[in-house]
Amino acid sequence: MIFADLLFIFVFLPAVLLCYFAFKNTTYRNIVLVAFSMVFYAWGEPVMVFLMVGTSEVNRLLAILVEKHKGTKKGKLIAIVAISLTLATLAVFKYGGLLHLPFKPSLPIGISFYTFQIIAYMVEVYKGNTKAQKSSLKFLMYISLFPQLIAGPIVRYNLVEQQISGTRPTNVTNISYGITRFTIGLAKKVLLANQLGAAARTVLDGNVVMSVSGAWLGVFLFALQIYYDFSGYSDMAIGLGRIFGFSFPENFNYPYISQSISEFWRRWHMTLGGFFRDYVYIPLGGGRRMVFRNLLITWFLTGLWHGASWNFALWGVYFGVLIIIEKAFLLKVTEKVPALIKIPFTLFFVVFGWALFYYTDFERMWGFIKSLLALNSMPLTDIVTTNLLYDKIAVIIIALLFCMPIYRYIERAIERMRALQYIVPVVNVAIVFLCVIMLVGDTHNPFLYYRF
């Protein structure tokens, strides 16, 4: 099931809210959340739901053993076995095709997210930073919690430990914030990402030999689409979490205003970047020794995490190389260059990178890159590009505006001016109505991060 779907918003969500708030007892509420999370997951993965539950339970038990043997070789061995098992699950189910395994299971939704949460949990239990969760129900709730189950954010256990083990605050402030955040995410997905995506597809999915401006418009539309798609999903996840009293970490922080590639990755999919930093880059040696090797490995894996296709690895290495260049000299050299120059410079490389990300077929990717770089003997522009640009100009301008932190100013203004606070419900209701209209007739618009 996905969030931007009529069945989810108007059947599943009311049902889960009704059942959840019907109880005051936290255990009952946990049961409600787990039960609905199972339905939510099984709706899309009627078989693989058992893999998720099994992985969760096995790791809960192994973590208890790791904790029991903390500081001993046995404890370390169990932790290694547990992490290897989880990685093996990911390897088989996600990279089976890429690794030419004899069987090719279909990719279970959300496996990239929940396996990473389990790995992080296991490491923290091993290190003694986190207490092992004894309750099957609570651990399964942590792993399967439907708001963040299938597309993140990657929520570390210690961040929500209190909310899982103890009670969660139910108050109107949280619920109201959650509703507004969910609605914003819905608008990002339905009103912007879907429109931008449809336009991007008309450019990117046809013949890759096209005019230079056509190619740039296409990849630029995709850059906007993927941002609104993914950050919209994160907003909805954070909003839903908050309604139930969970505080999930932020995942995006206006990535397209970054002044360097390194900064971009501190603002884009922050929970993933944090995971790779803490559990791959730093254990490899981080910035202390063989830093370039560590960066390349980390970015190769970060890229590959995005999909079982080599183009994602290439995309990761591309960023790895750019970050190495920045670390080597570029950041120092450009220290005093104004932001107005650094932002478009960074954006150029980020947007170009989306071309590597989009095309899983290397031949098509190369053809498209040649279009981007004017190597295809095609004209600079053409009528279809101009037509498309004008046809979507309002959506593009709105999308561009909200790539900048203007929402922060709106938020502050709302905080300061009480009268504005009464406008929020009106805007939320309007967004819901608009989204319903736009969703009607749309068959599914699966989230891009679904395939990861």
Binding site: Q195, G206, G214, V395, P425
Partner: protein
């Protein structure tokens, strides 16, 4: 408490709105047919464990739920209106699902000047400037003619990349699933409130179409006349010049088909008949079909070719259906088309005739009926024989001993009323649904004339040609 008032209102408003919409979605009557999209909406899946475990069951429930929303047509009209506000159109042109590609490849077109024989003279129309330019470029490069285009769909019958929609050739709701094919289109262009489906066929497909028709020359007695009429579509005549390169050259493709016909198969030059009258309402603006008036001129050309008498238009009863909005609104979602309806004008023949239907699900049972079957306004094109999924047998008072069988797609339907004054008997057969072996059926019924009447998209679509090829196979 007072400090929390805006938040309380926010929560209350959300609960109220979600509850109200939930109630509407769950308890209001669901839409079963979309008149604007001219299709039956999704049905609830039938439960089976296999379906459930594959994930298909729940997926289909989602599709059913969003597809059959109460008041769907009203809501989609608002969505179209909102989409229309997402930008501005330049040159008065809006493109829908038009892919960025080097469509020059799809215009093997004019420069090739396919070899022609005396029996099958090429269509004589002044070449358009744009295409001539293409021709020059291609000639200079000296590259061999490309018969297979980039559009793999034209060869495989799969839909072009990025084109999610499946466009039904039939406008009726009664077509079976196997009557639905992806067609070789390049998206839709809307200009001057006219929806134009951009053409993406290829010479290779045209050759296959010709070969499929040629087979009949070997299978039928020499006394039987075989004709083929490949009907151009509106985009060929109404596409603004600077967008013309987005659509393949239909004239060149028709010429190429003609040049590949067996000399015993007679081409009917509908293209010339239509191109001479582009200032008249020969095509529907809001539908992917031609207008009955266009069919009239094409039939006149056919009657001349076949040497049969022909009733002038003035003798027909003219019927006008006002406020017609056809398929192009549903296909493009362009609100301009919905907001600019047109008159659907059709013509009833003056002579006497009887009409009998044989439905394909029960083809042995004759059903006495009428040539014209009334329809909701938006489905007016289905007035002819009520759509496609039947064999129609018409017996007229002409008494010239000529018996015609028409193998057609939905374009052919509009021809039939104008044939009634020219043949003694007419069998109208849709290539997608016919359950018999065609040559045997034609012999059995003493057919003297066979006409393959298909639009250029069908004649370039693998699935549709496949249907013609299948007609010679015993079912």
């Amino acid at each position: 408490m007072k400090n929390k008032l805006p938040q309380i209102i926010n929560v209350a408003a959300f609960i109220l709105v979600i509850s109200a919409i939930s109630f509407a979605l769950l308890f209001m009557p669901r839409t079963e047919v979309s008149l604007t999209e001219q299709r039956e909406l999704e049905k609830l899946p039938v439960f089976s464990w296999e379906l459930l475990l594959s994930g298909e069951f729940t997926r289909q429930i989602n599709i059913y739920f969003s597809d059959t929303v109460p008041e769907r047509d009203r809501l989609t009209a608002i969505a179209s209106f909102i989409n229309g506000m997402s930008g501005v159109s330049i040159d008065g042109v809006t493109l829908h699902n038009v892919e960025f590609s080097d469509k020059a490849d799809d215009i093997p077109a004019i420069e090739l000047e396919p070899e022609t024989s005396d029996e099958n003279p090429p269509i004589e129309v002044e070449p358009e400037v744009e295409n001539t330019e293409t021709a020059v470029i291609e000639t200079v490069t000296g590259e061999p003619p490309e018969f297979v285009t980039d559009d793999s769909s034209a060869v495989t019958g799969d839909s072009p990349e990025g084109w999610d929609g499946v466009i039904e050739e039939s406008v009726t709701g009664d077509s079976p699933a196997d009557g639905v094919v992806d067609i070789a289109n390049n998206g839709i262009l809307v200009y001057q409130n006219r929806g134009l489906m951009l053409y993406g066929g290829s010479f290779a497909m045209g050759e296959r179409y010709a070969a499929a028709v040629n087979v009949y020359r070997q299978l039928l007695d020499n006394s039987v006349n075989i004709y083929t009429m490949v009907i151009p579509t509106a985009v060929e005549f109404y596409c603004p010049g600077n967008y013309r390169h987005l659509s393949g050259d239909q004239r060149a493709n028709i010429n190429h088909i003609h040049s590949n016909l067996n000399p015993g198969v007679i081409p009917v030059n509908a293209y010339s008949a239509l191109s001479a009258r582009v200032n008249e309402d020969i095509y529907l603006r809001t539908d992917h079909h031609w207008a009955p008036l266009g069919a009239y001129y094409a039939t006149e050309e056919f009657a001349n070719t076949a040497g049969v008498s022909f009733t002038p238009l003035s003798d027909y009863e003219r019927v006008v259906v006002p406020d017609y909005v056809g398929t192009m609104y549903g296909y493009s979602g362009d609100i301009k088309i919905k907001n600019n309806p047109e008159d659907f004008v059709y013509f009833k023949p003056p002579n006497s005739y009887t009409t009998t239907y044989y439905n394909y699900d029960n083809p042995e049972v004759p059903i006495p009926s009428s040539l014209f079957v009334s329809q909701p306004t938006s489905m007016s094109y289905s007035i002819f024989m009520g759509g496609d999924a039947k064999i129609t047998h018409i017996v007229t008072d002409v008494g010239n001993g000529r018996k015609l069988a028409i193998f057609k797609d939905s374009y052919g339907n509009a021809l039939v009323p104008f044939m009634v004054g020219s043949f003694e008997e007419i069998f109208v057969i849709d290539i997608r649904y016919f359950p018999y072996n065609a040559p045997a059926y034609l012999k059995e019924n003493g057919i003297t004339d066979v006409l393959f009447a298909n639009n250029i998209f069908a004649a370039n679509t693998s699935g549709m040609i496949g249907y013609i090829e299948q007609l010679t196979v015993d079912s």
